[in-house]
């Protein structure tokens, strides 16, 4: 293992307990988190970022929920990679989620590895990283933890909750679990349950991690190894599901990487291979392999209807929340039919819902990429909701 890799591993591991550039709330033994698995997590902590400022009547808070491999650095430089925030096109001054108007809170989810308690955090009972002793968590557990964070911050009602993919699942869970705390909800490119195909893809990713001998039964942080190759392969496979055939063809086609002819070896001859390898390697720098197992599991377990007698509409019965559901034409991981099912359930519950499908060839990842129509819709939806909520416009 190269020295630089060890240095990166150490830097990443430190983030799990002591995140840089983030606020941290610690919940002691007096405030345990009750998990769906039937156990209590205590003590635990939540790392989060905020942007903009909370108004006097505490009515302008927007909770942004991040996706599987995201984190709290939604609109600011990532402390490990140095890259810009993952949703800077959407969140910031003058952006659709306008930080001059709204107070944006983005917590790192439970089970992740950027400062909120997860399998890479130190287990206070052993003084060593949790590893696989960390309890299996659910989307609902993540949302419960976020609600405890908001209680701690003294924010009773959120003006809006927004997120894509796993973030969208949290948005739906928020609206179902805490309807009176959510004025507006923006679930993007998500579903009320993880499909068999999606569980299958996740299982392939987990098996790749666990097949790496460096994984050491999940004890790699204790034994000083890192299942780099396994996690990179998991990321490569998953990354394909975030794109589309058309987008891959447009970006790479069958073009060769730095060569004019095939080498008749298993080098990365094709640009698309080289791109995927890069995606895998750079992901390993910033993400914990066990967190990947826990978070994919949480998504697999997500099935909103199951908690409400098999009927999704029951989850939203009597809701006053206004919803804006958004999907993308080329997203085959969370296809439009899944968003339409959300809309049908909301209609059946008599909810105030908007639904837009955006034409793009960028696949599932479109929600993170340059999509002017997405920005116009989010801005319009939030403006309308802000008027109904009596929020002042920025600068007004």
């Amino acid at each position: 293992m190269a020295d630089v890799d060890i240095a990166l591993d150490l830097a990443r591991a430190r983030e799990a307990d002591a995140p840089r550039d983030s606020h941290v709330v610690r919940f002691g033994p007096d405030r345990p988190l009750k998990l769906d698995a039937g156990v209590e997590l205590s003590p635990f902590q939540i790392a989060y970022k905020t942007y903009g400022s909370l108004n006097a009547d505490r009515s302008n808070a927007v909770l942004v929920c991040h996706a599987l491999t995201g984190d709290q650095h939604v609109a600011s430089r990532h402390p490990v990679t140095g890259k810009p925030g993952w949703w800077e096109t959407m969140v910031g001054p003058g952006k659709p989620i306008d930080t001059e108007r709204y107070y944006v809170i983005c917590p790192n989810v439970l089970g992740a590895c950027m400062g909120t308690t997860g399998p890479a955090s130190t287990n206070p009972r052993t003084g060593k990283p949790w590893g696989l002793e960390f309890p299996v968590i659910t989307i609902r557990d993540m949302v419960r933890a976020q609600a405890m964070l908001l209680d701690d911050l003294g924010i009773e009602t959120l003006f809006a909750v927004a997120g894509g993919s796993m973030g969208g699942m949290q948005v739906l869970q928020w609206a179902a679990s805490f309807p009176r705390r959510v004025f507006a909800a923006l679930p993007i490119a998500c579903a009320t349950r993880h499909s068999a195909q999606n569980i299958a893809f996740h299982e392939v990713g987990r098996q790749a991690v666990m097949a790496d001998p460096e994984w050491r039964g999940g004890r790699y942080l204790i034994e000083g190894t890192n299942p780099r190759r396994g996690l990179a392969v998991a990321r490569m496979g998953a990354h394909i599901t975030y794109l589309s055939d058309a987008a891959l063809h447009r970006k790479f086609g069958r073009k060769f990487q730095d060569r004019d002819n095939p080498t008749f070896t298993f080098d990365a001859d094709f640009q698309v291979e080289s791109y995927l390898r890069h995606q895998g390697i750079s992901f390993v720098e910033r993400f914990d392999a066990n967190s990947y197992l826990y978070l994919t599991r949480a998504m697999d377990y997500f099935d909103l209807a199951a908690d409400y007698n098999g009927v999704v509409a029951n989850a939203f019965a009597g809701t006053q929340t206004r919803f804006c559901v958004i999907s993308f034409t080329s997203d085959w991981l969370f296809p439009t039919s899944e968003s339409r099912a959300i809309v049908h359930a909301l209609n059946a519950a008599g909810a105030r819902v908007s639904f837009a499908e955006i034409v793009t060839d960028k696949g599932h990842d479109a929600f993170l990429l340059e999509e002017p129509e997405l920005y116009a819709i989010v801005r319009g939806f939030l403006d309308g909701a802000a008027k109904a909520r009596g929020l002042k416009s920025a600068g007004g």
Binding site: N347, V353, S354, I377, G384
Partner: protein
């Protein structure tokens, strides 16, 4: 498809009232009680929903087939979903709305009867506006010209028309009978978008009305 029809209607310079709104929309708006819950089926770019929100303070929702229409509506802050009148009305529970409106869209649906039945199921009232195929100029084009009619409001050739279920005012009255709808109000508009004489007989409306607007309710 529906939005294309709407655009063409607008392009045909449908008569506009003092506020700049289309007269047929003003007429529809006039039939809606203040603060009601309204579903506009085939809401296009949201002109009627905005009018209703501004003049009637309604809690409005919309369904629109075209993606561009939907996205424009949502960006305006309206609660509109992408959907199809023929398939998606079935998902709404009974009595969800005070009014369900179908403005200039009936003739483009695949199964007008089922659409109308759903409207009366999910709303206490239904408001339907449609082009009258019994208008004398249309009759004349078929009878004398011997071809499918084309007018300013209905500019399509038969082979590219989204309108697959035309009816006359008389036909629509028959449909209301069949589905058990009570006619609370009916207005026919002339070619200039002006309402025809209130006490005129039905045959007169059917001959001289270019459009009709019906306010219906379920028979008790």
């Amino acid at each position: 498809m529906l939005s294309r029809l709407k655009r063409d209607l607008t392009m045909a310079e449908a008569a506009r009232g003092p506020g700049g709104a289309r007269v047929d929309l003003l007429l529809v708006a006039d039939m809606v009680a203040p603060d009601a819950r309204v579903l506009d089926v085939g809401c296009g770019d949201g002109e009627l929903l905005q009018l209703l929100a501004e003049t009637r303070g309604v809690d409005g929702r919309g369904i629109e087939l075209s993606r561009e229409g939907v996205n424009e509506c949502v960006a305006k802050g309206l609660a509109v979903i992408q959907g199809d009148a023929d398939t998606d009305l079935a998902d709404y529970p009974d009595d969800t709305f005070d009014y369900v409106i179908l403005s200039q869209t009936l003739q483009a649906t695949r199964r007008p009867r089922i659409v109308l039945e759903h409207m009366l199921r999910i709303g206490r009232h239904a408001i339907v506006s449609f082009p009258n195929f019994g208008h004398w100029r249309i009759r004349l084009q078929v009878a004398i010209g011997g071809h499918m009619p084309r007018t300013d409001n209905l500019p399509y050739s038969w082979w590219d028309s989204p309108n697959i279920h035309f009816c006359t005012i008389k036909d629509f009255r028959d449909l209301c009978q069949v589905v058990g709808a009570k006619m609370e109000r009916a207005v026919a508009l002339n070619a200039y978008g002006k309402p025809l004489r209130f006490n005129a007989p039905w045959w007169f409306w059917n001959l001289f009305g270019e459009q009709a607007v019906f306010l219906l309710s379920r028979r008790a």
